[in-house]
């Protein structure tokens, strides 16, 4: 037989390899058994990581993609296997993460008949994917799979679903790889408009108080250097959205911190004080803007984005710079006059000082008799890792404390669920992050609630012998919800207390070293033990049960309406 006449399963695997894939996160089942059988022969070229739940596989692929810049790949069976991936797909859509999810499907003659484990994956996935396609014939594989990678990874990245009918996995095809690098209905990178570039540069040149908002678009576009050159030339202070964190090093002089609901005071206040607001690769999420009616009304707004539908979606803009930040930023920078805004950039210091006194100091240097605070644990871990680690978080207070107090030297150092706010994201995403960046330290901060949503992935860590440092910030509460109940619902703690297991014992059951820490005096040593032990480690920090994340802008309030603490 001609060696190019192969099964659909093999054609799929060969296409993955041709697309540069070497790692797959997955879980087998009836409608992908032929594919897994074929994978057996390809195990030297394709590493398969067996998650413990398909949601875990999907978040792992996200973590992998976020740290490596490569497209994460997920392989699952039909029906429940596919539906279990939905949360991860939706998360990837919201946070622009390139993943390709391949789900098995019943043989094509059975489609539409409610066959065993048949589900309309395309119908379910369409609203939460960049593209979703069903392969019914082996001849479609080369084209569809390459197209999937092209779509997932280009332009504004996102998730793609390939639903792969079982008969197409078994059927034979005369296979030739065809690289897709163009789709006539899809323009991933628009050509920048010279006029808009000029107008943007002119506005910035005329600005006395320019302020830049840095989003994940800078990281996705690999435009970190271009960003710094831009900020430097015109001396523009900047702040990052949560997903934009680590695009600039934490200690960079023009980096003024994080925006949004639990962001830094300076950046939020200055949003309503600057004269030109320059948004770069961010989408004015409501957690960043607060009440839009009271958002940056005084400023001229320039919006750099690759996605035209984001420009003007939430905030009306004066200048739209539609394009890839890696091209548009330098184009604008070339037209900028070197400038200094010493007084303006210096004016953030007072806000920073105020935040330090009212919030930060209490959080990272609490008085001796207080229980452990989340912030102090985070900062100590960050310092022990010398700001070089990758931070992965779950969702809730632990997340906000982690992103507020962790520090970064390198780009692609924050993996967190932004747009969807998915509890249970952290543990599996950390697995993917470690796979995607095996040489870097990976620190996961998670809550007692979120950890238990995907806890079973400890099994994956055990099996793959992954060196992940897991820090559980255990407050025995669904803390972030409890915080809202304390502030806005009269302390009626409806369904937020949690009776928790002994997390350290659970870790040990999975062969993961662990330690509980409740005393401040033991914290340094416990962290040292964590970093000194090779392999995975779980540090369970018993933190204050009623801890609060401040500053806080209440949902729907003006971004300058900042609660600094208990009054």
């Amino acid at each position: 037989m001609d060696k190019n006449v192969i099964t659909g399963s093999e054609a799929l695997l060969r296409t993955l390899i041709a697309e540069g894939v070497d790692t797959i996160f997955g879980y087998p089942g009836g409608q992908v058994i032929p594919l897994y059988d074929c994978l057996y022969d390809y195990s030297d070229r394709l590493k398969h990581i067996l998650a413990r739940h398909e949601q875990g596989a999907t978040h792992a692929a996200q973590g992998y993609a976020r740290v490596s810049g490569k497209t994460g790949v997920v392989l699952v069976t039909s029906g429940p296997g596919a539906t279990n991936t939905i949360t991860g797909i939706a998360d990837a859509m919201m946070d622009s993460t390139p993943i390709v999810v391949i789900s098995g499907q019943v043989p094509s003659p059975l489609l539409g008949s409610d066959a065993f484990q048949e589900i309309d994956v395309i119908g379910i996935a369409q609203p939460i994917t960049k593209w979703a396609y069903q392969i019914r014939k082996p001849e479609e594989i080369a084209w569809a799979v390459s197209r999937a990678f092209y779509i997932a990874s280009t332009g504004r990245p996102g998730p793609v679903v390939i639903d792969f009918a079982k008969d197409a996995q078994i059927g034979l095809v005369d296979y030739v790889y065809e690289k897709v690098s163009r789709i006539r209905s899809y323009q991933p990178v628009p050509e920048a408009d010279a006029e808009q570039i000029k107008t943007a540069a002119r506005l910035i040149n005329e600005a006395e108080k320019p302020f830049a908002l840095v989003g994940q678009g800078v990281i996705l576009g690999g435009a970190e250097k271009e960003l710094l050159a831009f900020l430097e030339k015109a001396d523009i202070p900047a702040a990052a959205t949560m997903l934009g964190l680590s695009a600039m090093p934490s200690d960079y002089r023009l980096n003024k911190g994080m925006l949004g609901m639990h962001g830094n005071v300076g950046p939020n206040r200055k949003t309503n004080d600057c004269d030109v607001l320059i948004a770069i690769g961010m989408r004015f999420d409501d957690r960043v803007t607060g009440n839009l009616q009271a958002y940056a009304r005084q400023a001229k707004i320039i919006h750099f984005d690759i996605d035209l539908s984001e420009i003007g979606k939430n905030v009306p803009v004066d200048v739209s710079v539609w394009g890839d930040a890696k091209e548009t930023l330098p184009a604008v920078t070339r037209l900028l006059n070197p400038a200094t805004h010493t007084e303006w950039t210096g004016s953030f210091a007072a806000d920073e000082q105020e935040e330090y006194e009212k919030v930060v100091e209490k959080e990272i240097h609490p008085e001796g008799n207080r229980p452990l605070q989340m912030g102090e644990v985070v900062r100590k871990v960050s310092d022990a890792a010398e700001s070089d680690a990758i931070l992965v978080t779950d969702v809730g207070q632990n997340q906000m404390m982690a992103v507020r107090y962790f520090r970064y030297n390198h780009t692609r150092s924050v993996v967190t669920s932004g747009g969807l706010g998915t509890m249970g994201f952290g543990l599996p995403a950390a697995i993917g992050a470690k796979e995607g960046a095996p040489d870097r330290i990976v620190c996961l901060f998670t809550g007692d609630g979120g950890l238990q949503m995907t806890l079973q992935e400890l099994g994956t860590i055990m099996q793959e012998k992954l060196d992940i440092k897991i820090i559980v910030l255990n407050n025995n509460y669904l803390g972030m919800v409890r915080q809202w109940q304390e502030l806005f619902f009269d302390k009626r703690y409806s369904a937020t207390t949690m009776a928790n297991p002994d997390f350290a014992a659970i870790a040990r059951a999975y062969g993961i070293r662990s330690r509980k820490v409740a005393k401040r005096e033991e914290l340094d040593e416990a962290i040292a033990e964590m970093f000194n032990s090779s392999g995975a480690f779980m540090l369970v920090a018993e933190v204050e049960t009623h801890g609060m994340v401040y500053p806080m802008v209440p949902a729907g309030a003006a971004i300058t309406h900042i609660i600094m603490g208990k009054s």
């Binding site: 069903q134 789709i183 006539r184 003007g312």
Partner: protein
């Protein structure tokens, strides 16, 4: 700016399975009702054309159309108001043959409305009229009042822009040029 008006959204797409769903979910998420919908192959082979009308605010239609245009299999999406368009709907009316024959001034009626008789049989007569909504509706009301309408159906709007060329052909030819330049 906050008043709703009727927009005609014109979409050119690849002819792939499931596209209509991709488009309608974008309307649904923004709570926009689709008033009329018509889908057919366009003048360009392999390209489908959707014509959708909806009441919306300008700001909203702008955002929705951008979100549609962004979908991978959509070639081009844009919107117009009635001033920019020549548009028609087609309506069919089934009436009782007996009553219709007895009706006085049938010929004037048909002429006045510029209607056509499509089918005549013992039981019923089927009339056809194309025009704007108000026009097809007017005939419907008149027939309803006089002899009653047994069945009535109206198509979705089809429309053509008054400007010289379809924007899609411009776009496609620009794209072809770019590809050739890159080769």
């Amino acid at each position: 700016m906050n008043t709703k008006q009727l927009y005609t959204v014109i979409i050119f797409s690849e002819n792939t399975v499931g596209l209509l769903n991709q488009i309608t979910i974008i309307f649904t998420r923004r709570q926009l009702n689709i008033e009329t919908l018509s889908v057919s192959p366009s003048a360009i082979q392999g390209v489908h054309k959707f014509t959708i009308t909806t009441f919306a605010e300008k700001d909203m239609i702008d955002k929705v159309v951008k979100q549609i245009d962004k979908r991978v299999d959509i070639l081009k999406a844009y919107y117009n108001t009635d001033e920019d368009l020549v548009h028609q709907e087609i309506a069919l009316y089934k009436v009782s043959a007996e009553l219709f024959m007895k009706l006085k001034g049938v010929e004037e009626l048909i002429r006045k409305y510029n209607a056509r008789v499509l089918e005549v049989n013992e039981d019923c007569i089927v009339l056809e009229k194309s025009g704007h909504y108000e026009e097809t509706q007017a005939l419907f009301l008149e027939l309803s009042r006089s002899i009653g309408v047994l069945q009535f159906i109206r198509s979705g709007r089809i429309a053509i822009t008054k400007s010289k060329v379809e924007r899609l052909s411009d776009m496609l030819s620009a794209m072809e040029k770019k590809i050739q330049a890159n080769q």
